[in-house]
């Protein structure tokens, strides 16, 4: 089983020679299947850039990136869209729901792009909304929902195509601490069900909920530490990660 995320010397440069900004300066990161990893770092550390690249929203300037065993660093825009659709579920700080579309339609949209039939979409959307606990709001507009409910809809939407990776960017940033705890509990629940979760946050208390923390500083991975009660899993992921890195190096040598 290949790791879900495997990057090797990932770099990202904004701007040209004169005033180039090196946002990422060689990131090596491996996340195994079923892991719950927190990406922490102050603002300007490059963690948002890293998240964009890991989420296939942006392409790296250099290095390699394999998502669930597939090289994606040199894919075209259309292919990246497909990878985002099938392999990644995004959860944003500002929810990013379509404001005038109903909750159900918001959840159905990724399945629409994946080419699922209408009936199948509806069935799955209702199932997902039940899973995140807002069945009764399916026909409401996002504006009629509270922040916590909106984030739950976003989670349901992220899960729509059974992605290999859930990518959450400050998911509790816009929520009060109580609601934030509820949403984080939902993430732990999803993790317990076997989902791979990558959480981007600047908040150490949020990061502490993850199995493993990866700290980004000045475009580099500074330290990786275990979260509460996830030592075994982390160790397993670590070995797997190393094996993955070797595999990646081998693949590069072959290429």
């Amino acid at each position: 089983m290949p790791p879900i995320i495997e990057t090797h010397q990932l770099t990202k440069v904004f701007g040209s020679n004169g005033n180039a900004v090196h946002a990422l300066r060689g990131i090596d990161l491996t996340v195994g299947e079923g892991e719950f990893v927190a990406l922490v770092g102050p603002s300007g550390s490059g963690k948002s850039t890293l998240m964009a690249i890991l989420g296939c929203l942006d392409s790296p300037s250099g290095g390699s990136y394999a998502l669930a065993g597939r090289w994606v660093h040199d894919l075209s825009g259309g292919e990246l869209a497909r990878v985002r659709n099938e392999k990644i579920g995004f959860i944003f700080q500002s929810y990013n729901l379509l404001p005038r579309a109903s909750v159900r339609r918001n959840v159905e949209l990724p399945m629409l792009y994946a080419g699922l039939g209408r009936r199948e979409r509806r069935r799955r959307a209702d199932e997902l909304l039940e899973q995140v606990g807002i069945t009764d709001k399916a026909d409401a507009l996002p504006a009629q929902l509270s922040g916590g409910q909106r984030q739950r809809v976003a989670v349901a939407r992220a899960l729509a195509n059974r992605p290999a990776l859930l990518l959450a960017d400050e998911p509790t940033g816009a929520l009060d601490s109580h609601t934030g705890q509820e949403v984080l509990a939902l993430f732990r629940e999803l993790h317990a069900l076997g989902n791979t979760v990558l959480l981007v946050t600047h908040d150490p208390t949020v990061a502490a909920l993850a199995e493993r923390q990866v700290e980004i500083h000045d475009g580099l991975v500074r330290a990786a530490g275990g979260g509460e009660g996830g030592q075994g899993a982390e160790a397993a992921a670590g070995t797997e990660g190393r094996a993955g890195a070797e595999a990646a190096a081998g693949a590069e040598a072959a290429a």
């Binding site: 964009a52 989420g55 929203l57 942006d58 825009g77 259309g78 869209a81 497909r82 985002r84 659709n85 099938e86 995004f90 944003f92 990013n96 729901l97 379509l98 005038r100 579309a101 339609r105 949209l109 990724p110 629409l112 792009y113 994946a114 080419g115 209408r118 939407r157 729509a160 195509n161």
Partner: protein, 418 residues
């Protein structure tokens, strides 16, 4: 929605429809441009068409657009005529018969006319009047109906029977009282019997105007043969006018040409007759309203252009909204191509709806206008085609830029767009 199969397009349409409903104010504003453009093309065409058809109808009723006149004409300007020129007999009944035989299907009627000024005396009146010798379908061709009595029979015309048919005003002048049919009348020295009285003919452009057809009611008609044989000493029995009615206007030019050569041949190649210039008349009739058509087409194009600009403006004004939306859609898996197709599908739907509504609005609009100026509405079907084609072209063109712009957005930038 991946791919281009029928299912994918059905989904795309359903999705575009949902999004239009979700963004109703924007969709309505954008559709409005199309509606106005289409309505102005359809309305303009229909109004100008209605006007033209009304003008034609009036023309037919007043003078007759469908009538081709043959008149006698002087062959020589000055000097003494040649033997050949004098050998001609002029315009005669034979000419009208030849014309009818030329194309019996095309000719809707032939009338002959021979005018005479004469003393007309009834037991109650004695007047100097114009008397019209008529032949063929004169009464029918000039729209006369018999109110009392009868019209001339073929036998009357052939035998130059001493009978007369008179118009309503002439009847009132000559016989102020009593029954008219069957009473005697003396035209010059010839006694005739009135066999029919014609129904009064009335034509006004507007109510309250004087009757433009009053002169027609003064008709005193006798068989043309009676005039030529007994009232005038013309041994050749020449006519003043032969009129052919050709209901099919398009065939008229050709008919007049062949009639011209036929008559010339039978008149020993002398041009002692004159035909109406039909080609000119038909051309004028056809070109009537063309100016309006161009004007309305232009105003329609301008309206669509304006509508298109409004569309682009609305798209740009709602850009922030839309860019975020596009960013979200891209993040959850829509490719640039899919975004482009989505935008274009929405534009297509709006164009189709706008066109349909515009057609309705245009028809209603022209109905109101034509009703207010008292002209029956004639819907120009060609204008539907024009309007739809133009709206389609403009809808497509003006949708292209925003759609292309949106599809080229980078998902990251679009998501962060403020």
């Amino acid at each position: 929605m991946r791919g281009n199969g029928r299912g994918a397009w059905a989904e795309r349409f359903a999705s575009a429809w949902t999004e239009l409903r979700e963004n109703l104010p924007r969709a309505v504003l954008q559709t409005l441009g199309v509606i106005l453009g289409v309505a102005s093309v359809v309305g303009g065409f229909s109004i100008s068409d209605s006007q033209r058809q009304q003008a034609n109808r009036l023309f037919v009723r007043v003078g007759g657009l469908d009538k081709l006149n043959v008149l006698p004409s002087e062959v020589i300007d000055d000097g003494s005529p040649t033997a050949l020129q004098t050998a001609n007999l002029g315009l005669r009944t034979a000419d009208s018969e030849r014309g009818r035989e030329l194309d019996a299907k095309l000719v809707g009627g032939v009338s002959e006319q021979k005018l005479l000024r004469s003393r007309v005396r009834s037991p109650l009146a004695d007047q100097e009047r114009q008397v019209t010798g008529i032949g063929g379908d004169y009464l029918a061709l000039n729209g006369y109906d018999v109110e009392r009595g009868r019209r001339f029979s073929l036998h009357d015309m052939e035998t130059a029977a001493p009978v007369a048919v008179i118009g309503s005003e002439a009847a009132a002048d000559l016989f102020p009282t009593g029954e008219i049919v069957g009473r005697p009348l003396r035209i010059g020295d010839v006694p005739v019997t009135v066999v029919g009285v014609l129904r009064e003919k009335v034509f006004r452009f507007h109510d309250g105007q004087r009757n433009l057809f009053a002169w027609r009611n003064r008709l005193v008609a006798v068989p043309a043969t009676l005039v030529t044989r007994r009232m005038q000493g013309d041994a050749y029995r020449r006519l003043d006018r032969v009129t052919f009615r050709i209901p099919d206007l398009k065939a008229m030019v050709l008919f007049s040409r062949s009639l011209d050569s036929l008559l010339r041949a039978s008149h020993r190649l002398q041009r002692d007759f004159r035909l109406d210039d039909v080609a000119k008349r038909v051309k004028r009739m056809m070109s009537q309203g063309d100016v309006y058509n161009v004007v309305f087409l232009l105003s329609g194009i301008l309206a669509l252009l304006g509508g298109g600009m409004v569309n682009v403006n609305i798209q740009m004004a709602s850009l922030k909204d839309r860019v975020r939306e596009v960013g979200v859609k891209m993040a959850i898996g829509a490719s640039g191509g899919e975004i482009f197709k989505g935008f274009m599908t929405e534009a297509l739907l709006m164009t189709v709806f706008g066109t349909c509504l515009g057609l309705v609005v245009g028809v209603v609009f022209s109905k109101v206008i034509t009703a207010s100026i008292g002209v029956p509405l004639a819907i120009s079907v060609a204008s539907f085609g024009w309007a739809a084609a133009l709206a389609g072209a403009f809808g497509f063109l003006f949708a292209l830029y925003p759609a292309w712009k949106a599809s080229r957005l980078s998902p990251m930038e679009a998501l962060r767009y403020e």
